[in-house]
């Protein structure tokens, strides 16, 4: 985090804006926390077949990203899955 980021983060107006942006993306996508939890569990289930992952540290959320095909933002499922160990066959 840069010094500028540090100061930017400090004021509550920007915190509000950032939090709102995130919550609205999932509101608009009509994706409830329950559904997100189901998706998360399924992801853990599938990935675990191939590698050992840190289920506690796994983070998934719906964010916005620039569309590659047209100009404008589209919702994207973002997943951060920490790997503990690769399974070697």
């Amino acid at each position: 985090m840069s010094l500028a980021d540090f100061f930017r983060k400090k004021n509550s107006g920007n915190i509000a804006k950032d939090r709102l942006k995130l919550v609205l993306v999932s509101d608009r996508a009509n994706c409830s926390p329950e559904v997100m939890e189901l998706i998360k569990n399924d992801i853990i289930h599938v990935i675990s077949k191939y590698m050992e992952i840190d289920a506690e540290g796994l983070d998934i959320q719906i964010t916005q990203t620039e569309s590659e095909t047209d100009n404008g933002k589209v919702p994207a499922l973002y997943a951060n899955i920490p790997i503990k160990e690769m399974h070697h066959s």
């Binding site: 004021n11 107006g13 509000a16 804006k17 709102l20 919550v23 609205l24 509101d27 608009r28």
Partner: protein
């Protein structure tokens, strides 16, 4: 040609009723024939904000049920004869009226009035569906707070799916001193998040509380919020009015505050 405008917000307490009272009075000051309808059945409030609470004989539910004629239920404003109020019923609930009945009522009022303003209840249930049923366009009121903006976003989505063709935003109760400190979202932030056109910014102004206490809308007065509402009215009738410089007033305060720091 007359227009039916619903004033809504999702969240309660952000200033829908105050906005309806001030915008209605402001349009009357511009010599338009205006009727205000309080659609918040069970929680009647527009009458007290307008200072007309002592004149109620019949209400919205009476009209819809055919217990009286529309003319009998309309209350003329104290100052502006071209401004009327159709009060809500206090002892009934939202299911006393249907969206179809509301549509019929607003269509009948079109023959007599230039602007029909509907003060929508908070929430997204039947009261909201009733209020938007006959509307041509909508004004969404929000404050620069996370809860109000989140609810406004939901409401904007619902208005779109109900094919309300034009939705415009009022950012109410803006505090420039807090915006300057970075402790309140800016109007630009709010517009960027909600992605709708802005029709007005109303600063947080204690004169609003005072005028509501007295039952007289503030619009048209020299108070900053009064000017902001007057400008909103001009924009509603299609005039191109620049946004108030709210910064100026804040900086005077700040300079004063600075002296004592």
């Amino acid at each position: 040609m007359s227009e039916v405008i619903v004033i809504t917000s999702g969240k309660g307490g952000v200033g829908k009723t105050t906005t309806t009272a001030n915008v209605g009075t402001g349009l009357a000051q511009l010599n338009k024939k205006v009727v205000l309808i309080d659609t918040d059945i069970g929680l009647r409030n527009l009458d007290v904000v307008m200072g007309l609470e002592n004149r109620i004989v019949y209400n919205l539910v009476d009209v819809v049920e055919g217990s009286c004629r529309i003319k009998q239920a309309l209350i003329k404003d104290k100052k502006y004869p071209n401004l009327s109020l159709l009060p809500s019923a206090q002892t009934r609930d939202k299911s006393s009226v249907t969206p179809e009945q509301m549509k019929k009522l607003t269509d009948e009022l079109r023959e007599e009035f230039d602007y029909i303003l509907l003060d929508c209840p908070a929430g997204i249930e039947q009261g909201f569906q009733n209020a938007i049923a006959g509307a041509d366009r909508s004004i969404v009121v929000t404050t620069p707070e996370v809860s109000a903006i989140r609810d406004a976003d939901r409401i904007i989505g619902l208005l779109e799916s109900n094919e309300i063709r034009q939705t415009q935003l009022i950012v109410n109760r803006l505090r420039m001193d807090m915006v300057k400190r970075g402790d309140m979202m800016t109007v630009e932030d709010v517009c960027e998040i909600l992605a709708v056109n802005l029709i007005g910014v109303v600063p947080d102004d204690e004169q609003i509380v005072i005028s509501t206490n007295q039952g007289e809308p503030l619009v048209g007065s020299d108070a900053l919020a009064g000017k902001a509402f007057a400008n909103i009215c001009k924009r509603i009738i299609g005039e191109d009015v620049p946004f108030l410089d709210l910064q100026k007033k804040a900086s005077v305060f700040e300079r004063l505050a600075g002296l004592f720091k």
